[in-house]
Symmetry: C2
Subunit: 335 residues, 2 copies
């Protein structure tokens, strides 16, 4: 029986989205037990389920709370108690759609980093014209160092190999030109580290080419990664809105839209982040899945399915083994 | 008669795109003279036009050339000779779709920066759900300092007021959260400078909200700005491609697409970067327009129309006056 802890109070649409998502995941996973962490009265609807255990707490970390302040002052919040269950070995994976800064800070503080890892990073799966790829870091760190980017590349490569069975994933650095030597100081130095590595490093990738799907992993600092991710979501929504506005202007186009609606539906499903089940925080001693702040029940369910998969293969333990196997001389750069 | 210098050899589709673009602009602007800078035999088709003067040179800066190496070794390239025409006062504006790094480096070296400006920046107009907005810096600088971002905000604000008549433009800093205190070191420090300024500064903006059109100027470092710009172009293309692929799968959807094609056409025109006429390099002593590397004749024509407008209102001189009027105490941060 795999046990997964879920932060019932995390996310813009919590708790209802999370409660419903837990129900859906229990139907999908017959040998899974859920620790639902949140206020007793809110978790009431789940309490009667034989595979749910409610961990009751009244405290909640809000989206606008400072991660480090929360750790000090709201230590009994659902977001942190869920991490405690991981640390104590009671749960094998943890899902939260709450304040992602607090999940990152809490994971580092309560679980600790993997041996040899300086900064954990969020690995987000993104749809492309070909197969999905990983963007790392999607926002766990700002002001990363070159060696951090280098480790992000290693972690994402291992993640894709272990979880998705993708052989020898192609790694690229996000920059402003494909040519060597294009980029800021951070990227130029990280490039030198990647060149010497055993990874399947293919050089720089430009913003334009991310969604072509020619590489498996795009590595960047979390500040840029987070902006790229949100920009993509916002732009995709805007394009569909603008198209709809244009279509509304003529009856003929409206009819066209109606006829093409199954195609639009397929497209939406293919590009829907909710299908991708949240993003793992790689580099901490635990399987932590950060779900989108706007997660609905479907997104929460898919995040729990991911969490289940990570627990099945002991993701974090295997990452740690693999990271310890990276030759230490590659580490000799504080650049 | 306004005189505009054009780099005939700049851009992925040069020289044919540029030659055609010059012709189109001459038709649109009856009181404009063009200096076409490029090899005599290539400019042959334009030479007979009474309002074209060919400045002949064989040297060309390639897209892959290092900007600073080019300045040393290809000083007679069309890209730089065009800038000479500006410096000598023979032309009032300059357009190039060539190596943008070389245009930036050449402009700084040959024209000089405006008094008080530390780093010139590329200001790109972007379509949004509402009116177009400016993204600055779109790639002139990487590794900017907080005070640079602050000056970018000032320059873009002035540009929007002078050229587009937009009163009191709203300025925002691109970051990973709207809340004060979210962001990397660069953004946090720039935020403090903006707070004290006379600009209509509205705080941070997230990637998700850029295309909503709620602000007039989005300020960021050129590394991020360039990635955002290219990501947007690439994603928009990818979305349309994926939609088309889905639509092709059923006859019904295909028919729908056919019926909606006028709406699609309108949408494409509204979001077409070629309509926006290139991006000015703000902060140098000259009206320099950097056109998209993939410019076709239409994009070149629109860039020349912009260049014409900038010359009409003496853009760079007015920017310099306005920048000198910023209280010097605001400058006291090397942060």
């Amino acid at each position: 029986m795999i046990k997964i802890a879920v932060d019932v109070m995390g996310g813009d649409y919590a708790p209802s989205s999370v409660l419903k998502g837990i129900e859906l995941s229990l139907q999908a996973l017959p040998d899974c037990q859920i620790y639902a962490v949140g206020p007793q009265e809110i978790c009431q609807s789940l309490a009667s389920h034989e595979r749910v255990k409610v961990i009751s707490t009244e405290e909640v970390v809000r989206m606008e709370d400072s991660p480090h302040e929360s750790l000090k002052k709201k230590r009994r919040a659902s977001l942190f108690l869920g991490l405690d269950l991981l640390r104590e070995g009671k749960a094998q994976s943890y899902v939260s759609a709450g304040n992602s800064g607090a999940v990152v800070a809490g994971s580092i503080f309560l679980l600790g980093r993997l041996k040899g890892v300086r900064r954990p990073a969020i690995a987000t799966l993104l749809p492309t014209l070909k197969k999905p790829m990983v963007l790392i870091d999607a926002g766990a760190n700002v002001d990363s160092k070159p060696y951090d980017l280098y480790q992000f590349g290693h972690m994402a490569s291992l993640f894709l190999e272990k979880i998705w069975g993708r052989k020898n994933p192609k790694i690229a650095l996000l920059s402003i030109g494909e040519e060597e030597g294009k980029g800021n100081q951070l990227v130029k130095r990280a490039h030198q580290l990647f060149l010497k590595s055993s990874l399947n490093y293919v050089g720089n990738i430009e913003g334009r080419d991310i969604y072509l799907g020619n590489v498996d992993v795009v590595v960047c600092d979390g500040f840029i990664g987070n902006i790229c991710l949100k920009l993509s979501e916002g732009l995709a929504e805007t394009i569909l809105l603008m198209l709809r506005e244009e279509v509304k202007k003529s009856f003929c186009s409206l009819l066209g839209l109606y006829l093409a609606k199954s195609a639009l539906k397929n497209f939406k499903k293919k590009t829907d982040w909710r299908e991708y089940g949240g993003a793992p925080l790689l580099g901490v001693k635990g399987n932590v899945i950060i779900a989108h702040g706007k997660s609905d029940a479907l997104a929460i369910k898919n995040a729990i399915l991911q969490a289940y998969k990570f627990a099945q293969i002991n993701l974090w333990q295997r990452l740690e083994e693999a990271i310890l196997a990276i030759p230490p001389e590659e580490e000799n750069s504080e650049a």
